[in-house]
């Protein structure tokens, strides 16, 4: 068993290396069109240049700030409104139709409207991310509260827990796993939305660089920034996993 597991691990490491090697070979022998698929070594060289000039970090940091601010602007109200909707049925009655009615709109479709309202500055980016994030967090938080096992509410009631304690000691921790699932989903969508928004609605950022690289046909640069988006996606996933570890020790195996 152990040997097989070690073997599988080796295979998992080997397969991307092998793919890169094949890609390099194919590019060098002109088996593939290097205008579309530049050799990995060329992409690497482009990356080194972009890092050295500081351009990569400039664009990455701009995108990260947009992500962070927009995400917080969406996540915090999402949790608060979701909790309120889960706990209080009048709030649910008022907001549910609005949520259900607007949720299906693809969020990126609102970008032109936001650019109209907020201009091409940072605010429109924050707003579009916030809107994309708020729904997923809100819907998951609400589901988290409503799916808390009735028994825990009964215990709270039998022990005469105050409203505040019902909230802090029962509802919030009980809903926490789904809240975090919502945050994770929200982060994924935020990344999608910011890259798309930067394509057309920005003068900087990773998405903007991907788009302009294509327009000026610097495909190696485009690949470098594609790689950067992958790293951001991976990084945010690691952060979410860390948050779950810290906040949900009782869910850890």
């Amino acid at each position: 068993m152990r040997l097989r597991w070690g073997g599988e691990r080796l295979l998992s490491v080997l397969s991307p290396v092998l793919l890169l090697a094949l890609w390099e070979l194919a590019a060098r022998t002109n088996a593939i069109d290097t205008r579309f698929f530049p050799a990995p070594s060329d992409i690497f060289a482009a990356a080194v240049t972009l890092i050295r000039t500081g351009e990569l970090w400039d664009n990455l940091s701009i995108t990260l700030v947009r992500l962070a601010v927009g995400f917080l602007l969406g996540a915090v109200p999402g949790i608060v409104i979701g909790l309120a909707m889960g706990l209080f049925s009048p709030v649910r009655a008022i907001l549910q139709p609005l949520v259900d009615g607007t949720f299906p709109i693809p969020k990126i479709a609102i970008l032109p409207l936001f650019i109209l309202i907020f201009g091409l500055g940072e605010e429109s980016k924050y707003a579009i991310i916030a809107v994309a994030v708020v729904y997923l967090v809100l819907i998951n938080t609400q589901a988290g509260v409503r799916n808390i096992d009735r028994i825990y509410l009964d215990v709270g009631k039998n022990y005469h827990a105050t409203r505040w304690m019902m909230f802090t000691d029962v509802a919030l921790p009980g809903a926490a796993p789904l809240i975090l699932a919502g945050l994770r989903l929200g982060m994924g969508v935020a990344l999608l939305v910011i890259v798309a928004a930067e394509f057309v609605g920005a003068r900087s950022g990773v998405g903007y660089q991907i788009w302009t690289s294509w327009q000026v046909f610097q495909v190696d640069r485009m690949f470098v920034y594609l790689l950067v988006t992958a790293v951001i996606g991976f990084g945010t996933a690691v952060v979410m996993t860390f948050l779950e570890r810290v906040l949900l020790p009782w869910k850890q195996p």
């Binding site: 028994i151 215990v155 709270g156 009631k157 039998n158 022990y159 000691d169 921790p173 009980g174 009782w250």
Partner: protein, 273 residues
């Protein structure tokens, strides 16, 4: 129990009707019972006869449809910190998975406004006596089923209620664990002598624990019989001694005799519907 002990709970004509999709379901059909202060009353009955419903009404988790419940309070005041009337130990897993053992046990005290320091000091000896020492900071998922039920029972005892409502707390446990926890429960209860209403589907468990056994009819639940155990087995009581004695079989026969036709009736009704 001697009949001179004051009555702690007086239940008269207690009825409960649920409505399921507009159809009424009679769960309890006029329960009359007196429970003396400090008595351990076991309630047995066919499944679905309303045992849990009875406890939930007493616990304030369900509204009664008719009847009266009078509880003689030990002390009546308006202070939130005063001893609570009851604490329920639930049939299903009910300790909070996100709290440590210590915080679970201290939950009731926190609700009553005790500071963290005070409540941790209060629960300490309870945790120790329940053989949970060393597990104060453990989370429930790290505990066995038996230990989880210990936490649940300790949570109820630590809140020092005037009355304990226990709903088949050991039903899901294996036989050996059950024996150990029954002995533990007896030991802890005998120190405090709280009034206990204890639901079980095990006649054996009822005889081992109870002063009196209340046998319920099939749904809708009524009182079928009350079997006196205290006059046969005194206190303090040893689980093994009870099971080895000749009177054990006699009592078992009496309870089973009352229960048998109800269980068969309930099964027949189930087969028809």
């Amino acid at each position: 129990m001697t009949s001179t002990a004051p009555v702690k709970v007086r239940i008269r004509g207690l009825r409960k009707r649920f409505s399921v999709k507009g159809r009424p379901i009679e769960a309890l059909d006029g329960i009359d019972v007196d429970v003396e202060a400090g008595a351990f009353l076991c309630i047995v009955g066919p499944s679905g006869c309303g045992k849990t419903t009875l406890l939930r009404i007493l616990a304030g988790l369900e509204e009664k449809t008719a009847g009266t419940i009078e509880v003689a309070r030990d002390a009546a005041g308006k202070d939130a910190r005063e001893r609570p009337v009851n604490a329920m130990v639930f049939q299903e897993q009910s300790i909070f998975p996100w709290m440590t053992v210590r915080d679970n046990v201290a939950f009731g005290l926190k609700a009553r406004g005790f500071s963290r320091r005070d409540r941790y000091a209060i629960v300490e000896p309870f945790i120790r006596r329940a053989n949970l020492g060393g597990f104060e900071d453990a989370l429930p998922h790290q505990l066995s089923g038996g230990m989880k039920q210990r936490v649940s029972i300790t949570r109820a005892f630590a809140n020092d209620p005037e009355m304990l409502l226990m709903d088949e707390p050991f039903a899901a446990l294996d036989e050996q664990t059950k024996l150990i926890l029954q002995a533990e429960l007896l030991r802890i209860w005998e120190e405090s002598r709280k009034t206990v209403l204890y639901v079980t589907h095990s006649i054996d468990e009822a005889i081992v624990l109870a002063d009196r056994i209340l046998v319920m009819t099939a749904r809708p639940g009524r009182v079928k019989d009350v079997v006196d155990v205290a006059s046969v087995f005194g206190r303090p009581r040893r689980v093994e001694a009870v099971k080895e004695s000749a009177q054990y079989g006699e009592l078992f026969g009496r309870v089973w005799g009352a229960l048998r036709e109800e269980v068969m009736g309930a099964q027949a009704a189930e087969a028809v519907s």
